[in-house]
Symmetry: C2
Subunit: 228 residues, 2 copies
């Protein structure tokens, strides 16, 4: 059971300021419905038809592409305030990736037609979302391309920084994923990920026990990420 203690849970859906009218907000609210997902549940599956705009209220959701040789590539770990599957909903008629909950999560589903009519009537809200999509797009493309040519230490350093800076905002955190999934995020294999993490441990750059990780030398992690 998820208890919503954060009063600003909808601040990315209904941004502060004069962007949306109270009428529009209640229109969107009343056409929507919160659905809870347990850890490991599938929110939507690659290839299925899009039908709703989905806004992550609480939890953590991984977005990944199914590769051919049953190898996946994790595009992003979505945090609360993220519109999951948005680019697929507006850019295609089927989902281009799969979304599964990696923690118990709640998602606000909004009917696509209602959402669309608000967007078409309210240019400011459209521009707000356009900017959000562009920003997110830049982040995803930047993460993937900067990782692309890097060697293992650079890739793994990238992942450590990703969780530390983008997800948990702390030098100490617990990986919400298995080693295999972390490898899918880093674009490598389970074995290689483990080995490199062990090297980092031996070199006292990090302290790590199971899913727990503490960055001991942020300096070195950043350098490894930079030099690749």
């Amino acid at each position: 059971m998820i208890i919503k203690t954060n009063p600003d849970i909808y601040d990315k859906l209904f941004p502060k300021g004069d962007i949306l009218t109270n009428e529009e907000i209640s229109q969107l609210k009343s056409s929507g419905k919160t659905i809870n997902f347990n850890k490991k549940d599938v929110v939507f599956r690659q290839g299925t038809l899009t039908s709703h705009v989905m806004y992550l209220e609480t939890g953590l959701i991984k977005l990944f592409k199914n590769g051919r040789n049953n190898r996946s590539f994790i595009l992003k770990i979505a945090t609360p305030g993220y519109f999951i599957g948005f680019v697929s909903i507006f850019g295609d008629d089927t989902f281009q990736y799969t979304a599964t909950a990696i923690e118990d999560s709640s998602v606000f589903f909004i009917d696509i037609n209602t959402f669309n009519s608000v967007l078409e009537k309210n240019g400011k809200y459209s521009v707000y979302l356009l900017k959000k999509v562009c920003k997110d797009n830049l982040n995803i493309v930047d993460r993937i391309t900067s990782q692309y040519h890097k060697q293992l230490p650079g890739k793994i350093a990238d992942i450590i920084l990703y969780f530390s800076e983008k997800i948990y905002h702390s030098n100490t955190f617990e990986f919400p994923l298995t080693r295999n999934e972390l490898a899918e995020l880093a674009g490598t294999t389970k074995e290689s990920f483990i080995r490199t993490l062990t090297e980092f441990k031996n070199d006292k750059i990090i302290v790590s026990d199971g899913k727990l990780l503490e960055i001991k030398s942020l300096e070195i992690v950043k350098t490894l990420s930079r030099i690749g």
Copy 2:
């Protein structure tokens, strides 16, 4: 000198239908200016400030990220009708990649404030562009992620199909890029690209002479792309 013979040169900027009013069209037209670029000219450089919306009228422009070890990664070859740098303009205040003309090109520059005010007043146009951005985003991410884990034959097959299907719509075409640039698009090195292309030639999958390429067995190229 570029001669604009195509009457629909602006069909992506001013989409058919009732999306834009004649007033808005003339407002955008009058606030804009066509600038011509010669082959190899830089249109904008990664890290510089964004200021205009840019719409490619004619020509071909490559969008690429400068990697650290002076290695680049080509994100996309922009064709006429493409808003170059759009995600940077709306998602950041600096360009996140560099754009250079790979053929003589003409670009229509529109003042960002004028563009923004049209967008904010016209939700339909905003939604139109939102969809365009989402679609483009899916294509770029799909291209890069599907390429990511592939081995050389799969990567090179991908590139051949990219030019054949997305750029030239023909089984015979001329690469508009050098081998080095093609490697930057495929995510490999010049040597590896050349070697793999030679193998394709030896296996009679393609006929190739310099920049010219003809797909002899589309079947096999597609299979190589699929199995990676």
